[in-house]
Amino acid sequence: MNKTLAIVMAIGLALGAAGALQATPQEDQATFQNYFIKRFPNVPKDDFINGAYALDPVGRENWEAIEEFPPYETAVSNGEKMWGTPFANGKTYADCFPDGPGIAARYPHWDKEKGMVVTLTMDLNKCREANGEKPLKPETGPMAELNAYIALESRGQVRNVEIPEDDPRALAAYEKGREFYFTRRGQFNFSCVTCHGANSGNQLRSEILSPAFGHTTHWPVYRSKWGEIGGLHRRYKGCNEQVRAKAFEADGEEYRNLEFFMTFMDSGLPLNGPGARK
């Protein structure tokens, strides 16, 4: 009798431990968002889209002054021109995206047919190639400008990323993205969360480290450091290199899955791209 009881208890404990290890994406999201909401109780939830400027009143003043004459304005104009300019075959981006340019909230998404996470830049390049045009570099230059226009047209939309339950590959991609986010890498042995988790709000040299919550809402961004507009994957590359890890390819599997995870964590926040940052 005692032996049976011990076996039942052991099974129960094992199942409990497995359940605790395998939190659902929704549980992850709640853990993630609650951590930052409790860490910064004076920041309204929707204000996390403003990154470090949600924490630093002086920095916010400066940033809002910059936003009066936004440095990404030229990029938006160029992107709008691209959107309306016919390809060599006479078609335009509107033929691929009949709902218009306000489509940023639909990305990234899980593509069941392809069995992979698809980004906006991938679909824009797919449209170009389908119309006989060469694909563009995803994280910089004209593609970033086109994205800036699309982001502006998508402002205020709320993104709710879905992880289809009927396709285990989608969950696997999410979990890979999650693992990437929390993996220490590079000579400095830092993970993304090292800077943007427990150290968010702390000062690093002259900068305040932004909280991870809200990181995906305002792309592409005009960074003063770059002197131009660039995409989220360009920033990923920069972060990886800052910790002295080898960066991965923009729109490659690693960064697509990472974006999938991070965007899921930011679900429910309004989009406010394009952005301006230092």
Binding site: F182, R185, G197
Partner: protein, 189 residues
């Protein structure tokens, strides 16, 4: 009487210095003459000086200076200023001998560097196979190759060994980090 004595002494001194040089030059010249004869007979000819042949190991390399000296002396002009010419020849011989010593040492160092670079490259690839490559590893390997090409083997070895270490650490780090997830401080909130 004194002038005769002085002249005789000078002559004796000149001969003492000059004759050995002449003998050395003749000795070194002999194989060359033989070579000409052999050319006529179309027989295979051995090299005039062993120093010309690459020494595969350290022991032949050490023997090279002794053989190289006469060969160099043979090239030196012999004439009224034989002593000076001999000294110059000896210097040249030393230089050649040094070259003979340096060449095999370079070969050994280069081989060691090539191996260190190959090891570093293997370690880098192993780290990359688990997405753990560090930023500067490939750059360091390239710099090690460049240092080797420029003959700075010590610098190359240092870079290659550092790159190998980075590759190994990057691999260990990536394996250790497998399955990383939410930190406890986030879960406890």
């Amino acid at each position: 009487m004194q002038i005769r004595t002085l002249f005789a002494g000078f002559l004796a001194a000149t001969l003492m210095v000059g004759l050995p040089t002449l003998n050395q030059a003749e000795a070194a010249d002999r194989p060359a003459k033989t070579q000409k004869t052999d050319k006529k007979s179309k027989k295979p000819v051995k090299p005039a000086a062993p120093a010309a042949a690459p020494a595969p190991a350290a022991a032949p390399a050490a023997a090279a200076p002794a053989a190289a000296a006469p060969a160099a002396a043979a090239a030196a002009p012999v004439g009224p200023g034989g002593a000076v010419a001999g000294a110059a020849a000896a210097g040249a011989a030393g230089a050649v001998a040094a070259g003979a010593l340096a060449a095999p040492a370079d070969t050994a160092e280069k081989a060691a560097l090539d191996k260190a670079i190959a090891d570093a490259q293997a370690a880098r690839k192993k780290a990359a196979s688990v997405a753990g490559e560090w930023r500067d590893t490939a750059k360091m390997i390239k710099q090690a190759e460049e240092a080797g090409a420029a003959g700075d083997f010590a610098k190359g070895m240092k870079l290659a060994s550092e790159a190998q270490k980075q590759g190994e650490l990057g691999y260990e780090q990536a394996v250790k980090e497998r399955g990383a997830g939410f930190p406890d401080y986030m879960k406890k909130q």
